[in-house]
Structures are given as C-alpha cells and as structure tokens.
C-alpha cells in the first residue's frame, strides 16, 4: 500500500479549484457541503479498492488516472485557509498524475489572476502560453 503525500498548494478558493479541475479535463467528484459543515466529505480509495483515512473536498478517482493509480484529492485545511493535495507516493512517480496536479495548480493560479484583474478593473492586453506551459498575461490599468 502506497502512503499519501500531502502537497501544499496556493489555492484558497473552491470556485477557482473547481474551474481548474474542469480545465484539466479529467472527471472529478466534489463533496456535498452543508452550510457550516465539513467540506471534506469524500474518502480517497487506494488501487486495491481500499478506503483510505484521507478525506477531501475534490477527488479524481483512480479509474480516471491509471490501472495502478490511487485516487488523488484536494483537502480544505481550515487552519491554513488553503487546499492541500493528496497524492500517493507511488503516483508521484507517474507522469500523468504529476502533470494533472501541476496543471490544476497552474490553472487555479490563472483563474485567481483573472478574477483579481477583473476586480481591480484592469484591462487584459494579451495572454500567451509558452511551449513550457508558462502563462504570461499583460494587464494595464485604465
């Protein structure tokens, strides 16, 4: 059984994380959250079908990752006020899983930028994605 590794993210907003997961394109599940209730209502499942103690708000199930993969998930940490990703030690060596987690972080950061730019009433001049995946956004104040 592969243990889960906790990866800190800069994601602080569930809406942005949801948008990022949609961008990445892998099917995901989101826990139903009641007002004032615990956000992390989904259990992660290992590659043998075993339910793990880790619970999360967002999960990509192993069937969408690979035959030997474990679920990956994002847990809301109330004290840190941010999300942490759970990735099994085994899956950290798989390029598709590593890429998915990195893409989610990248897209969430992008949506955070666009949200803040709009809130600030700034104008987007250009958006470029380099071959390495780096996103460059030029904005201008009015």
């Amino acid at each position: 059984m592969s243990e889960y590794t906790t990866v800190q993210t800069d994601i602080t907003d569930a809406n942005l994380l949801r948008l990022a997961l949609q961008d990445v394109g892998l099917p995901f599940e989101e826990a139903t959250v009641e007002a004032g209730g615990d956000r992390n209502g989904l259990s992660l499942v290992g590659y043998l079908g075993d339910t793990r103690p880790q619970t999360v708000q967002f999960a990509i199930r192993r069937r969408n990752l690979g035959r030997l993969s474990n679920d990956i998930g994002w847990v809301w940490d109330e004290s840190a006020q941010r999300y942490f990703a759970y990735v099994s030690d085994y899956d950290t060596h798989l390029s598709n899983v590593k890429q998915a987690v990195e893409q989610v972080a990248q897209r969430a950061a992008y949506h955070q930028v666009i949200k803040t730019v709009n809130e600030y009433g700034m104008m987007i001049e250009s958006e470029t994605v380099t071959p390495s995946g780096e996103i460059q956004v030029v904005v201008r104040t009015f």
């Binding site: 800069d10 955070q112 930028v113 995946g133 956004v137 201008r140």
Partner: protein
C-alpha cells in the same frame, strides 16, 4: 501602469512595467498580495532616484 503577470508551476510573479510613483508602488504590492504572488522586479520611484542622487552628492561633498 502595465503589469506582466507570469504564472509558472502555479506560482505568480508580477513585473511592473514603467516608472512607478510611490502611490502606484503601494498599489502594485497590494495587487501582488491579492494574487498570492510576489513582485519580482519593479522600476524604482522618482523619490528613490532623488534619494540616491542626494546620497551620492553628500558623499562627494564629504571627501
């Protein structure tokens, strides 16, 4: 004021393009904090250059 925002590996870096007045710099820092990012490089303020020039002049006068 123009900003170049670079997003790499989920990290945000903001570069201020153009000469920034002191007030604009404060806004840039606030903007960067809202983005959860950092100011990588910024032009110095006119006040900064004036301060550097004044310090250099004072040094020359003391010699």
């Amino acid at each position: 004021m123009q900003y170049l925002i670079t997003i790499k590996n989920g990290k945000v870096t903001i570069t201020v393009q153009g000469l920034a007045g002191a007030g604009c710099q404060g806004k840039s820092v606030e903007f960067a904090q809202l983005l959860g990012g950092k100011i990588e490089m910024t032009e110095h303020t006119e006040e900064y250059y004036a301060q550097v020039a004044a310090t250099a002049q004072a040094t020359v006068q003391r010699q």
